[in-house]
Symmetry: D2
Subunit: 338 residues, 4 copies
Amino acid sequence: MIIVARKGITPDELDHIRERVEALGLRTHISIGETRTIVGCIGDEARLSHVSLMSIPGVDSVHPVMRPYKLAARDFAADRTSRVQVGDRTFGGSACLVAAGPCSVENEGMMKATGHAVVKEGAALLRGGAFKPRTSPYSFDGLKEEGLRILARVRDETGLPVVTEVLDPRDAELIAGYVDMLQIGTRNMQNFSLLREVGQLQRPVLLKRGMSATLKDLLLAAEYVMSKGNMQVVLCERGIRTFGAETRNTFDLAAIPWLKMETHLPVIADPSHAGGRRDLVAPLSFAAVAAGADGLIVEVHPDPETAVSDGDQSLTFGGFAGLMRDLKVFAEAAGRTL
Amino acid sequence: MIIVARKGITPDELDHIRERVEALGLRTHISIGETRTIVGCIGDEARLSHVSLMSIPGVDSVHPVMRPYKLAARDFAADRTSRVQVGDRTFGGSACLVAAGPCSVENEGMMKATGHAVVKEGAALLRGGAFKPRTSPYSFDGLKEEGLRILARVRDETGLPVVTEVLDPRDAELIAGYVDMLQIGTRNMQNFSLLREVGQLQRPVLLKRGMSATLKDLLLAAEYVMSKGNMQVVLCERGIRTFGAETRNTFDLAAIPWLKMETHLPVIADPSHAGGRRDLVAPLSFAAVAAGADGLIVEVHPDPETAVSDGDQSLTFGGFAGLMRDLKVFAEAAGRTL
Amino acid sequence: MIIVARKGITPDELDHIRERVEALGLRTHISIGETRTIVGCIGDEARLSHVSLMSIPGVDSVHPVMRPYKLAARDFAADRTSRVQVGDRTFGGSACLVAAGPCSVENEGMMKATGHAVVKEGAALLRGGAFKPRTSPYSFDGLKEEGLRILARVRDETGLPVVTEVLDPRDAELIAGYVDMLQIGTRNMQNFSLLREVGQLQRPVLLKRGMSATLKDLLLAAEYVMSKGNMQVVLCERGIRTFGAETRNTFDLAAIPWLKMETHLPVIADPSHAGGRRDLVAPLSFAAVAAGADGLIVEVHPDPETAVSDGDQSLTFGGFAGLMRDLKVFAEAAGRTL
Amino acid sequence: MIIVARKGITPDELDHIRERVEALGLRTHISIGETRTIVGCIGDEARLSHVSLMSIPGVDSVHPVMRPYKLAARDFAADRTSRVQVGDRTFGGSACLVAAGPCSVENEGMMKATGHAVVKEGAALLRGGAFKPRTSPYSFDGLKEEGLRILARVRDETGLPVVTEVLDPRDAELIAGYVDMLQIGTRNMQNFSLLREVGQLQRPVLLKRGMSATLKDLLLAAEYVMSKGNMQVVLCERGIRTFGAETRNTFDLAAIPWLKMETHLPVIADPSHAGGRRDLVAPLSFAAVAAGADGLIVEVHPDPETAVSDGDQSLTFGGFAGLMRDLKVFAEAAGRTL
């Protein structure tokens, strides 16, 4: 931590700053310049996070120099990259894994049809929401446990591991009993009770970036899960909220390589939510894989026109087949198998 | 709902659109222009929300014309404004209510000192967090039930009704047993399980706007609470996340008058989180009240320099006394008592 | 400037950093910690701005500690506040000055009518665009010099000093010959040729904040004008572009008190563009004045329904009279005359 | 244009709306529903853009249904894609063109070295700024005409067509006399005088997206240039300003495929400014090309550590060679030659 003192700070004020910092077990190093005085704080910066340094008289600005996350930091993993096993698939290795399926589990028929259609084209996981977060209280919010049962049956038939969203800490254990990977959605990225809950389960977690979360916020959310003992976290860029009006969200492509440099955790992208339009799914998928993504999560529906949610951005079966065919060459260019 | 058809739509495609809409019980009204064809949908627009209109062949764009919230809409209240009673104080009437207190309940001594200091200056409620949402899993996250007991004792001593944050649906009932008003924080504005849970309790709710929530999103979050039967909701503007780097958040002042025109619910502001700096609290408070706010929620601490959280933006007791003195004249200018 | 070195920096790399900094005439101060090494750079930070410090091997992050503007900084003015004289009106003193008038000068009749209407209600300046920036090349873009002649005649009749926008450096001198204050619009806040041009004229400048400009960017734009010798700059907050969908722009109210603490220049607000709706003009005006604004610029039109631009946000004459009447009490509360 | 009338509109008000619209030469089509009344306006929507429809009593909201640009719209070009010739290179065909060079022309030696280095690796154009927009008035702002002469000499030696930025309409003709392509920078995307000026020259224009410009704004800026007769416009996505703190700008990858679907103009990307970091240039470049970009513009410098501007994001010669080698396979995957 570096503390910059206000112009004209008195020696007493400077002493007070030094005493406060040293009382917390850090050493200080003071540089008195012509126009500014700098107090370098040497030692465990985390101890200062409980203190309101800006409130100390004479302090002008405060500059943290250490990362606030540890377990999620790249250096934490021996070989700087970690693998997350979901069923018999592995995120973070040389394969580019594609999770595919509808926004919502609507009924068994459509899930089976989707499962068979996507596994044939090379999908690695099946997605589908049984508990749905909806902006309006009047929208369809999922089949709940019946949806989980359907997911489990389709997994058994197709062999595809299943990922589904958890909204409420009280449902986490139930859901973990049915599925292979727990998704924390964008609206719950900072639902700390939920993060702690899934941190105590031994199920891999797909953590989607919050709509207005910085990448540091995302890594701190991962740190919540990991600090409870569950190290199996996969991060997902799914677009952020900006002034941009032409797409549903703004796909922050640079998040992918930035995260790959900053953390050892696998990173995937959700082109369906990022663009919000069926015809943007393919180019966003190609770009994500070219930029180094370890996988994708894509919405696919037997009949998007009748989908109860997110139909505008869902691929048809034919559309998904086309995506996988065209994606292959980009995955290879990126040194990956699909 | 207005559906704009793509240029060159075929009569069959147009028929198909009409059938889909009419099958849901709405009437259609078609205008064929030189460059565009318009399908007006007359009836209950909510029925269309389950359908992916953009997926129907020939559709170019879709324009909703009705508000997605009902209970929160201004017309829902007979006199277009509702009052929310918290203890013996009333939000939404002629009084401008100020909730004051520390970010976190740290111990009984500091809460008592704060309670007595703020009640003397005219505060209407006491705030203080017993369950704290923290970006890092390593930060202090509150005294939990011990904090609630302290809050209840300070209320008994000072007569100030107490507001505190709920983070987890499993804690809602416990917290409601101790305090007078339940706060839903900015990170949980779209935690729909939590919204439903507090909707089932008979405690007034202080609903803070999410960091990247539009005002429609905020009203839909209120609608969640209200749709479960709890109509006692107070909305709070607390700043949004933008590119702005000089303040902690961007205080969206216009949200206050916009909400007052759009909903019957009381609207207050949080100048402490909006600005993130002690010296911005007063001007932001004056502005909020001038723009029509029904109240404020302000952070006050006996010794901000040692606060375990948010010290940079907390007022000292002296600072709070000054704020209340200076605020009086603006409240009067706005036709309110303080 | 503080340079934080990467973990594991070699002594040679550290020497190289020190040499680079000292070669530019600054002194260095090195603190070697357990996990980080810090190089404090003491002296004229501006000299480092030409150097790509991040490109030096071993550098992890760079933290400027000095403000990049000098003439615009608050300390530059002897009494920390400066006054800008426009005709016989003074921005930055105890009066709250209101500039009023239409978006565009449409013809002499409507300008005369507007001038007489607003001067009667206490407006201090007349606004009106003769050269108009328009998002579409097919929109009306102003009467040009004929508009300037109209503005000058209305000033002569009403005694109101006139402010109008300059879009092109080639027009600056012509416009300065007719009007009392030159406006730099939001789209030109970083049109550096134009800023330099008005910096060479002896006409006060009304500098509007860019749609995505930080407050530091705004002060640097003022610094451009001032560095050419023209110190008469008034800053204007007019809303920024964010995800917010309910208002035309997001009115960044906190910009007003932040700027008042950071610069000696007068600061006003434009509630018409910030909100984009007639019914938001009054509450935004009250808030701006309560937060310390030195004035306002407001759109007024004899018949907003027929205005060639910005009719949605223009007040009628009656609306303006009401605004001025209601604003008076807030101006007084803020210790100002209207 | 669709006009939605307020609940409870009177027949007189409705008549007035109809008269206003029909007086402008459009036909109307009125649908009276249970909760809303809709006025469809059929004909040339552009005629309504001069009218403040929201100011007409009884109007609740207004929904444009036509695109505001014509020349830039995809349908305008016979084969829905246009080509822009710069020297002997063609944007918009099967080749992916890479423009490379330093941020600023610093001297003849470094430009020659750079020109030779990048042509060898397959660059298609040389970039370099002779007139530089700088946020601070105290930063280096370019060699001006001397810089142009250097650019012209390096073109003659290397055969690389040259692109450089124009800041001031007064310099446009001079610059067009030396170089092959005129760049409009991000801060000038809505400098309408400058857009009109380059619209009158017969030099191809590289139009960079403004920091807070929507894609519609960008196409309208292109329309300005085209409406003056210069159809040779290439669009460039270079990142937008958001809350994102980890990268210099937020690279809006989806802009590339969205623009390719919406306009016939070629679209390129600037990974250097988007990411602001040397190590992000390659992954952002791969992604842009995978998403369909017609080219890239990349900063390259002989010694980034000593660059007078943008050193942090400039590639070394070795870095550029590596980029071009690795990019080849992605270009091929996208069906392009490099």
